[in-house]
């Protein structure tokens, strides 16, 4: 019974990891329709940022969060500006293009940092955990949950309260009309991409607490990130949150009752079945354009 109760925070923390890695994608894939296979490598860039910054000060882990946002964001900006903007409206070409970019970035990481995993030491206050009513709560998991919540709130405020966010939504809903209304759609695209990639960088820093830091880090998370965005509905923040929670708990409990390999299969089956019933995901953007 204790173990079953323990699965609750575990499901929540799996959901938090899923949400962190998928949040950036809700921008680039969800809002802009760019199938960015290099998203995982922006996560990797964030993780390596944490690696490079450690040891400078005692709080370098916290400092790494905004720095990774800027590093990964700029990488995303560069990718959008140099390549992706030439491929808008050609999703299949973009997929191949960004997949190629992801392979290049992985090899680059391998050449710079070496093939073996590197060590990112978690700050002392994130080591260990606490027992609460018989439920074990590791500090690093709690930190990831809090960070995911903060990121979601930040994104929500940006999308609904700030003029830039409103402009972004305008471009997503009707690019032509937004352009005619005087919105510089190209600049909005670039900024959206910067934000999405930057969030991937933040996720990368957080993942150093629980996962490996190596050149193939991105490949472990990219599929899960796409699953969350697709199941949640393209471009839908609340969809991504709900999908991450659903997949997190589903994963946690299915693995508890069966095993890791079978749980993965069952989750895929569940998602396929769900998309048969609701191909558009949990939530759908209501608009007059035929997408």
């Amino acid at each position: 019974m204790g173990a079953l109760a323990n699965q609750l925070p575990i499901g929540l923390s799996i959901a938090a990891v899923l949400l962190l890695i998928a949040l950036g994608l809700t921008f680039t894939f969800g809002q802009m329709g760019v199938i960015n296979m290099a998203h995982g490598e922006f996560i990797m860039a964030g993780a390596y940022t944490a690696y490079l910054l450690q040891g400078f000060t005692s709080q370098s882990f916290l400092i790494a969060l905004p720095v990774a946002f800027v590093v990964a964001g700029l990488m995303g900006l560069l990718l959008e500006w140099s390549l992706i903007r030439r491929f808008y409206g050609r999703p299949l070409d973009t997929l191949l293009l960004t997949w190629g970019v992801s392979l290049v970035l992985q090899q680059l990481a391998r050449d710079i940092f070496g093939a073996p995993n590197v060590q990112v030491t978690a700050p002392g206050w994130l080591v260990g955990g606490v027992d609460l009513l018989g439920v074990r709560l590791p500090y690093n998991r709690m930190f990831i949950i809090v960070l995911a919540v903060l990121c979601v709130v930040g994104v929500w405020v940006y999308l609904t309260k700030l003029p830039q966010g409103r402009r972004m939504r305008a471009v997503v809903q009707n690019r032509e009309l937004a352009g005619y209304s005087g919105i510089a759609t190209g600049r909005v695209d670039r900024f959206t991409f910067l934000l999405g990639s930057g969030l991937a960088g933040v996720a990368g820093v957080a993942l150093t607490l629980v996962g490996p830091v190596g050149p193939s880090l991105g490949t472990f998370y990219i599929v899960d990130a796409f699953l969350v965005v697709v199941a949640g509905g393209l471009g839908q923040l609340r969809g991504a949150v709900l999908a991450a929670l659903a997949l997190g708990f589903l994963n946690g409990y299915l693995e508890f009752w069966t095993d890791a390999s079978l749980a993965k299969v069952l989750v895929f089956v569940a998602i396929i079945a769900f998309l048969q019933v609701r191909p558009q995901g949990m939530f759908v953007l209501k608009g007059r354009t035929l997408v």
């Binding site: 204790g2 799996i14 093939a115 073996p116 190596g214 472990f220 390999s261």
Partner: protein
């Protein structure tokens, strides 16, 4: 189509064909030895999830080749390594092995890490009657006439580790492994051992290669309360497993984890603070004290950097090159059948101590060692077998293992 595009298209079509013929029409292509050189193949994953481990073995093998060349080579000829990337993808291993044998005409190949890659390469080497030197501990129950196994088989690693745990009074074990052939076979052996010796198996869990979410598994371990965890996870998963185990309140004092695929290199990537106090089972550690090991560690750091560590599979890969060179020197030729015949009984003073090739099953006799991971990332030996253990890949000399092969 405009003429310019047509011309480009033609060139694009012809170029690979031209290159291919250029490679096939190599006139000096008999059995790896041509002129003053002997070509040897090196086939490891330099990309993908296994690159973390396999790149270091390649480095050790290249070091051995360099050292042998500095001492005048083999049969008066220099060794020239031809390196290929298996890309953590098993069909790629088979394909590249075929390429090394038939296109590069290498005298032998040093390569592989996962059992899946070895199983993929095995038919290629048997079909071509070519030689593979496989440098990693594995699940046993195999003895191909065209493979030399320089890593431990089960009776030189897993069985001694179980003996050690039993001697420590561990009565209840939890098995954790990656979902492929090595962990599944290893656990079959462990379960047979446990059944015979009255040890309870509290759980048996597998996760896909590259899996990074271990909180559920850790929860299951906490729930089962075993005396020890036997860990056959491979690759990056170990990092996630140990990082998530540490936050869970399971300590090495109450529940030590015994790993058979975590060596010095992996400890560095996991972070020593996350794995310190847990146990590992190998045949060699960087701290092993032999004159040959002092020289090996010194040469490796000089070539690749002072912050580099040496580990068991690296040492086994390094030995493989020396053992093959000794066999070639004894045979007087690089011809495969002659080398195989000469190899039995060949013995070298390796960094791990004396290692001797068993002519019967083409494994090597090795000393088993249990190590304790230290906070500085090094591994301290806490137990070793009295001498090199004779390889027994089919566990024929163990009565409890009767139903396994």
């Amino acid at each position: 189509m405009r003429p310019r595009t047509l011309k480009r298209g033609l060139i694009a079509l012809l170029l690979p064909a031209l290159l291919a013929t250029a490679c096939v029409d190599d006139p000096s292509s008999n059995a790896g030895a041509s002129g003053d050189d002997i070509k040897v193949g090196i086939l490891h994953s330099l990309s993908g999830t296994m690159a973390i481990s396999e790149v270091t073995v390649r480095d050790a093998e290249l070091l051995a080749i360099e050292e042998i060349n500095a001492k005048g080579g083999v049969l008066g000829k220099k060794l020239v390594p031809v390196t290929e990337d298996g890309a953590s993808d098993w069909p790629t291993f088979a394909e590249k092995a075929q390429k090394l044998i038939s296109q590069d005409k290498v005298a032998t190949v040093f390569g592989g890490w996962t059992s899946a890659s070895r199983k993929a390469m095995l038919p290629v080497f048997e079909r071509n009657k070519a030689l593979l030197w496989y440098p990693v501990q594995y699940e046993g129950l195999e003895s191909s006439p065209y493979i030399f196994y320089t890593g431990a088989t089960t009776n030189q690693q897993i069985v001694p580790a179980l003996d050690y745990l039993a001697a420590q009074g561990k009565k209840k074990m939890f098995l954790v492994g990656s979902d492929y052939v090595f962990p599944r076979t290893a656990n079959k052996i462990i379960k047979a051992y446990a059944a015979a010796k009255g040890i309870e198996i509290a759980g048996e869990e597998y996760t896909p290669l590259g899996h990074t979410e271990y909180s559920t598994l850790v929860n299951k371990i906490a729930d089962a309360k075993p005396d020890a965890v036997f860990n056959t996870l491979n690759g990056d998963s170990n990092v996630a497993f140990f990082k998530q185990l540490r936050g869970s309140g399971i300590t090495p004092q109450t529940t030590p984890v015994v790993s058979v695929s975590v060596a010095e290199e992996e400890v560095k990537g996991i972070g020593p603070e996350n794995v310190a106090g847990h146990l590992v089972a190998w045949n060699y550690y960087q701290t092993t004290t032999t004159p040959a090991n002092d020289a090996f560690v010194k040469a490796f750091k000089a070539k690749y950097g002072a912050d580099k560590v040496t580990s068991d599979p690296m040492e086994a890969g390094y030995n493989a090159v020396y053992l093959w060179a000794a066999a070639v020197a004894k045979a007087g030729t690089v011809e495969v059948e002659a080398v195989k015949k000469a190899a039995g009984g060949i013995s070298i003073e390796a960094p791990e101590g004396t290692t001797t090739i068993d002519g019967e099953n083409q494994h090597v006799a090795k000393t088993a060692r249990i190590g304790l991971v230290q906070a500085d990332g090094q591994i301290k030996e806490v137990w070793s077998s009295p001498g090199p253990i004779k390889p027994d890949p089919y566990l024929k000399s163990y009565d409890w293992a009767g139903g396994l092969s």
